[in-house]
Symmetry: C2
Subunit: 147 residues, 2 copies
């Protein structure tokens, strides 16, 4: 079977994570790379095209395993099923339309930095400050009030 550079890279990622190299996992990694913020359903139907007979449970398994190994980031915006992305380890955030769910990556918030440091840590060991910007996308600004 032909191996693209990306494929070779994905194999190394899986191996380094201690996960076996399977077609589903390689395809899932590629898919999320190509379609950031993909939902489980979307990933599921794409996996089915490449690997006939793929089950939804296997899709959840694969995504959970990849997430557990730190190869995928999972985001769960309010009112939406889980989404997955490859950009991990950086400090990027998300901008979501309340009306249609359109989602953009936001490289980093600018300005009022104090918001990214809690005023009282309650003695927690912090590992993430997750920021979601909510609003209305340009399209929904004009269509929201329609009948």
């Amino acid at each position: 079977m032909p191996t693209t550079p990306a494929d070779t890279d994905s194999r190394a990622l899986l191996r380094d994570a201690g996960l076996r190299i399977t077609g589903l996992r390689l395809s899932a990694l590629d898919l999320v790379e190509a379609h950031p913020h993909a939902t489980v359903d979307h990933i599921f139907s794409n996996l089915q095209m490449k690997h006939a007979g793929t089950s939804i449970q296997a899709t959840y398994n694969v995504l959970n395993d990849l997430h557990g190994a730190g190869l995928l980031r999972r985001i769960e915006p309010a009112g939406s099923p889980a989404r997955f992305e490859r950009r991990i380890g950086d400090n990027h955030h998300h901008l979501i339309c309340r009306s249609c769910g359109e989602l953009h990556d936001i490289d980093c918030a600018v300005g009022e930095a104090p918001c990214l440091v809690p005023s009282d840590s309650h003695d927690f060991i912090l590992d993430e400050a997750e920021v979601v910007f909510w609003g209305l996308c340009p399209k929904c600004q004009t269509t929201t009030t329609n009948p």
Copy 2:
């Protein structure tokens, strides 16, 4: 029926929001006031105590109506069912334990509604910058690695 000051206040809130004044709605407001971050289940069982026969659907209706009227804020942290709180209109955030789900309010150091500005607004009309601090609470720092 006796009306406490809080009760009177809640009645005014409902009336001003154009919502009819019902026992369930008054109790739900009181309950969330007394128990910030309460889950639907928690609110449901408490409503049942005060109003025998209350259904889970009515609980969802009441909470959705109050939320729609802007009287309750709904938060939906990843991996948790929806939670409700009375603190609305201020710019406070949340600190959540990844292990046990313990949740604290975090007062934002900076005042206004979206306390942060995205690096690129994508022409969205923003109404909220939601920040969730994730970490491990003191208790889970010691118990997480146990068998």
